[in-house]
């Protein structure tokens, strides 16, 4: 079986989903496509179950915050076809004020903790997730710390100035 070609793969996806799937990049041979949240589960299911592709392994779900964009949260899915040894990256841009997206737990049980982590750090609401609560941070943390409006350090703090360390 020959290696699955990115061009063929994207053509097939375009045939199935039309303009709801856009190719945005291909760094280091990693096909990166964009879709919208209404189609993400269908797209993931197609990639997972289609005998031609068999992207059966969900490598990761995470998110990126782009404060300058209108839809400022990008949820990123990494899939791996163990049969073809080909990876694919799928991005979904959603609103930063009301970040909601369907949960992928219907397809992979492993998505459970990945989505909890993404919720924990970015506040993305995964609709249909069985138990969406924080996983790494303390339960009563008032913010989603990986969002860029959150300050990295406390700017008012004085007890760690160089002066106290003889510098």
């Amino acid at each position: 079986m020959g290696k699955l070609d990115n061009t063929v793969l994207f053509q097939q996806l375009h045939l199935k989903f039309g303009d709801h799937v856009k190719k945005i990049d291909e760094p280091f041979g990693l096909l990166t496509i964009e879709t919208v949240k209404d189609y993400i589960i269908d797209l993931l299911r197609f990639l997972k179950t289609d005998p031609q592709f068999q992207f059966i392994y969900l490598t990761d779900i995470t998110a990126v915050h782009y404060p300058e964009l209108e839809r400022s949260i990008a949820v990123v899915y990494h899939l791996h076809s163990l049969v073809h040894n080909v990876r694919i990256r799928i991005k979904v841009f959603i609103s930063g004020e009301q970040p909601e997206i369907p949960s992928a737990t219907a397809l992979w049980n492993g998505a459970n903790w990945m989505e909890r982590e993404t919720y924990d750090f970015f506040g993305v609401q995964f609709i249909g997730h069985p138990d969406l609560r924080r996983i790494l941070n303390v339960d009563d943390l008032p913010v989603f710390p990986m969002r860029k409006e959150y300050p990295l350090e406390d700017p008012n703090r004085v007890d760690k100035k160089d002066f106290f360390f003889g510098r």
Partner: protein
Amino acid sequence: MTDIKLAPAPPGVTGSGFFATTLDKAVGLARANSLWPLPFATSCCGIEFMATMGATYDLARFGAERPSFSPRQSDMLLVMGTIAKKMGPVLKQVYTQMAEPRWVIAVGACASSGGIFDTYSVLQGIDEIIPVDVYVPGCPPRPEAILDGVLRLQEIVRGESIRRRESPEYKALLESYGIHNG
């Protein structure tokens, strides 16, 4: 054969067949020279403490022969390493489980002030959740520095009044940390 140096007797009145001193000083002498340590090690400072416990630096010379891994039988809590905010309640529970009198040493920059981890997930010094007696600087401190911290704690213990733990000031201190079993 080396000369064995005994802990010096506290000041007192001595005569033929008797030695008189205050109860405070006698108790202080006993407590200071049998501090049972409870290591609470989370990172590299803990590795330095392992060297401190080992044969070369030999913490046991100072009466800390028995590292206690149960808080209920230990006197001296050594917190070594970065304490994440999620670890905070665990540390506080360990401290609460210790019987009075109890002392705390914050070993290293992270336990003392959060160190380089000035971030949302790290406790900025364990004195935000439990009272600390001695701070050992360093990132990580050398075993000599940890030993120095223990010796300074011994000085504090030697001079402590046996009534201190019943005093309203001490109770207010614990109350300010939200610890009610004092």
